[in-house]
């Protein structure tokens, strides 16, 4: 039986019905699910701190979030929170929690635990990357600078008795109700409530400062579908089914994440030692031949782009637009990605609710590019390189090691640019060197650091583009140096627009401006290719994970079962 299921986010729903209908069988209990990941987790099983994607894989299984994103990246799916409502000006959201959820050690999960999970973000000793999840809440700034908290743990009793305020914007109403209040409306309010909830009774005595050294990390307790059993660094993570999971005990007994080299993982997949592995397009021809595997081909939120150094006098607006026409982005998708991906015209990915599908974009048209370059004052020199005001059009294309497809795309771009008379020198460096040349910290921005840079980003749940393109973030996040006052205002307005329809309109306009001004040229979004053993049933790849939905959709993992 050779069965390749090609599912896209848009088609997934109807396909789902077809496949599940075809495979209507009685689920079986038992067995061990074996997945692979390419690198070892950091072992920081603290969802509130943020860690590598590998840690998130595990945290998603062990911890349960309040709410979850749907396939359009909207936080609409209830998990621990059975319902929530906003106040009139949408500055406050109150969550009602389910009462039937217990942690793996049998303790019930209450508002206290939600309070604990979120309040630690912003504590003076907090060492994590999720600061933005709370930054707009009432009383956050005061709490963040509260020196008296140094070295302390969070004390729920002190909070309830009014002795300590902590973050005034996080308000426990009763055991099963908790509210989050912000100073102004923030579109992030709901989307940021997707972190796994940690048990207060386990962590209460651990000072925030020492969390990462706590022995509680050896066997973290959560309320997710799987219990944490064992972590052998560089080898595997072993989880076991949680009998009392509120959505029902998982069908499988064990879940293992083996840490494997990508090539070896594919071989293990072939012999049935593994059940699931992601792979890159280059391996598709190989995987395709394996009969016992289903291949899932989904859109991913990751996109690759080419950033322009806007301080560079060569890279004027019309020149940038011409370069966009000169680069054969579809060719890159067809050749380097073997068609598993699509050209994108905006950093907001196609399946996002804020995506603007009406952008005209830039088709591959070298003749048009040449014409536009000529209009912008460039003249072809004898050596085949364009010249303007005595300046040769020579640039450096900087890109990091790692991503194979990106590495392949660089010479293609170089050749495309050469065809219209732009001489691009390739410079591949390790990531640290690249960051030093682009987001060089604390050094005033200048035109010499880089010319063109190829990097990838995972598009955010929140469609906000301020971190990368708001002028206040020059030269850090906005290292290309895009400065447009009107655009800044649009970003600010969109972020604080409570009305969804108005917000969508604002984001459409934002994307139009970006597509015209081209601070960066978005290139392509690669698909996420996952091979899953055919013996696994109920796989629903389109389901989106919580705060890190780069992972394959394991949201309904408790429903997966293995056929003998």
């Amino acid at each position: 039986m050779k069965k390749i299921i090609i599912i896209t986010m848009l088609l997934s729903l109807c396909l789902m019905i077809m496949t599940t209908g075809a495979l209507a069988q009685e689920p079986q209990y038992g067995g061990t699910l074996k997945f692979s990941m390419y690198s070892s987790p950091e072992g920081l099983w603290i969802p509130a701190r943020g860690a590598s994607t590998y840690d998130v894989n595990v945290n998603n299984m062990v911890y349960e979030p309040l709410i979850q994103l749907d396939k359009n990246m909207e936080p609409t799916i209830p998990r621990i929170a059975e319902s929530w409502e906003f106040n009139d000006d949408k500055t406050k959201v109150t969550f009602k929690l389910r009462k039937d959820i217990k942690f793996h050690d049998g303790e019930p999960l209450t508002a206290r635990d939600v309070w604990y999970t979120y309040t630690q973000i912003g504590h003076i000793d907090y060492e994590g990357t999720h600061m933005a999840y709370n930054s707009y809440l009432k009383g956050f700034d005061a709490f963040r600078e509260d020196e008296s908290q140094r070295g302390k743990a969070l004390d729920y009793e002190a909070y309830m008795s009014g002795e300590e305020d902590y973050i005034t914007g996080i308000q426990v109403i009763n055991d099963y109700e908790i509210a989050f209040e912000s100073t102004d409306y923030s579109s992030r309010m709901l989307a940021d409530r997707v972190l796994g909830i940690m048990p207060y009774h386990i962590w209460k005595d651990v000072p925030i400062k020492n969390q990462h050294l706590a022995e509680e990390l050896e066997k973290p307790i959560g309320s997710g579908p799987f219990k944490f059993e064992e972590y052998a660094r560089d080898e595997y993570v072993l989880l076991t089914a949680y009998e009392d999971y509120y959505l029902g005990r998982p069908y499988v007994d064990e879940l293992i994440w083996a840490i494997r080299d990508q090539e070896v993982a594919l071989m293990e997949l072939e012999v049935g030692e593994l059940h699931l592995a992601e792979f890159d397009p280059n391996s598709y021809n190989l995987i395709e031949g394996f009969e016992e595997l289903d291949v899932y081909n989904d859109l991913s939120p990751v996109y690759q782009y080419m950033g322009f150094n806007l301080q560079d006098p060569k890279l004027t607006l019309k020149t940038r637009q011409a370069m966009a026409h000169a680069i054969d982005r579809q060719g890159i998708v067809d050749s380097a990605l073997l068609g598993f991906g699509e050209v994108v015209e905006t950093p907001i990915v196609p399946f996002h609710w804020a995506h603007n599908p009406n952008l005209e974009g830039y088709d591959y048209n070298p003749e048009k590019a040449k014409k536009m370059l000529a209009e912008d004052g460039w003249e072809m020199g004898d050596d085949g390189v364009l010249t303007r005001d005595g300046m040769k059009f020579r640039v450096e294309l900087l890109y990091p090691t790692g991503n194979q497809v990106r590495i392949q795309s660089a010479p293609i771009i170089q050749q495309n640019l050469a065809e219209v008379g732009i001489d691009a020198r390739l410079n591949m460096t390790d990531w640290g060197t690249l960051l030093d040349k682009t987001e060089r910290r604390g050094v005033p921005f200048n035109a010499d650091q880089f010319d063109l840079v190829l990097v990838g980003l995972a598009g955010g749940v929140v469609p906000d583009q301020s971190a990368k393109y708001h002028s206040r973030n020059i030269p850090d996040g906005n290292y290309v140096g895009y400065s447009n006052e009107e655009f800044d205002k649009m970003l600010d307005d969109a972020l604080t627009e409570p009305d969804r329809e108005k917000a969508v309109k604002l984001y459409w306009e934002i994307q139009e401006v970006m597509s015209h001004d081209l601070p960066v040229l978005t290139l392509y979004s690669p698909n996420r290719l996952t091979a899953v053993s055919s013996s696994i049933h109920n796989v629903r790849p389109e389901a989106v994970e919580d705060n890190d939905w780069r992972a394959f959709g394991l949201v309904n993992i408790h429903e997966w079962w293995i056929e003998d």
Binding site: S283, L286, D334, S335, P411, Q414, L426
Partner: protein
């Protein structure tokens, strides 16, 4: 024993380079090695004439094609002509390999000889330096050097890094050898006869100590070629488009290629093997030819 040695040394003195060549010529494998090496060097010089395509030209519609009339060794993962890249790759790989080996020899032999010959404090200091360099994290060192010199894509910086970190083996080997020779009778007598340090080192010690060093150096050529590839792979080597055998091999690092696309890895693999083998045969031949006792040995 003493007399015999003096005689042999005399013989060497009376017949310079020609004798070495005459001995070398009698070694068939060494000659074959030299021949192959010359062919490879010739190929790298004549690369523009031998290449059928521009080695960096990307044929967008011809990714990973098996060998055919147009591309005799097929195309790689970017649709570039494998044969042309192989031919041009010889330039980078041979330069890196030979330069690195030369640096290993020069630095390693100098330090090892000085340490063993003079002993005492000199030995202590030089050998501790060797120990320190030997325990350096190679990658970190390469990273810092390349970044500080802004040497990304500069082949000379890359060769320098490889050369600067690889000589320690030679230094220790030659030191061990010379330590064991230093107190031998014929060296003692040469010293008693008033020979200069220079003369003792070059006439009596080095020729007798070179065997393992030549072996080590010729072996390290393959190491240097592979290291260049690894560094390029990590973004610290030659420019990404520049073809080298090592980078061609490391680009082919996958099961798919190993299994289904032998034209991507067999040609550069054979190229590396042949050049490393040739260099080693030449090294063997050279060692035999330089060895003053070799002639006598043949009579046994």
């Amino acid at each position: 024993m003493y007399d015999e040695n003096v005689e042999t040394t005399k013989e060497i003195k009376s017949s310079p380079g020609t004798l070495v060549w005459r001995r070398f010529r009698h070694n068939r494998m060494a000659l074959i090695g030299l021949g192959m090496l010359s062919i490879i060097v010739l190929i790298s010089i004549l690369a523009p004439l031998l290449a059928t395509h521009d080695p960096n030209k990307i044929y967008m519609d011809k990714f990973r094609q098996p060998p055919n009339d147009e591309h005799i060794l097929g195309t790689d993962s970017l649709g570039r002509d494998v044969w042309s890249r192989l031919v041009y790759g010889s330039r980078v790989s041979m330069t890196v390999g030979i330069t690195a080996v030369a640096m290993y020899l020069l630095i390693g032999v100098t330090i090892g000889t000085l340490a063993a010959y003079f002993g005492g404090v000199v030995d202590m200091v030089l050998m501790r330096l060797t120990d320190i360099v030997m325990s350096f994290p190679f990658l970190l060192f390469a990273l810092v050097i390349v970044a500080t010199l802004e040497g990304e894509g500069n082949i000379w910086v890359v060769m320098g890094v490889i050369g600067l970190l690889g000589w320690t083996t030679n230094a220790r080997l030659i030191r061990g050898q010379i330590l064991s020779l230093r107190d031998k009778d014929y060296v003692q007598s040469a010293r008693a006869l008033g020979a200069s340090h220079f003369r003792i080192i070059f006439k009596h010690l080095l020729p007798n100590a070179m065997a393992p060093v030549l072996v080590a150096s010729t072996l390290s050529m393959a190491f240097a070629i592979m290291t260049e590839a690894a560094l390029s792979f990590l973004g610290m080597g030659v420019p990404p488009t520049m073809a080298s055998w090592g980078s061609m091999l490391s680009e082919a690092n996958s099961r798919l290629v190993m299994d289904r696309m032998p034209w991507l890895w067999v040609p550069p693999g054979i190229a590396v093997l042949v050049s490393v083998l040739s260099i080693n045969f030449v090294g063997d031949g050279l060692r035999d030819a330089l060895d003053p006792k070799q002639k006598n040995n043949k009579e046994v």
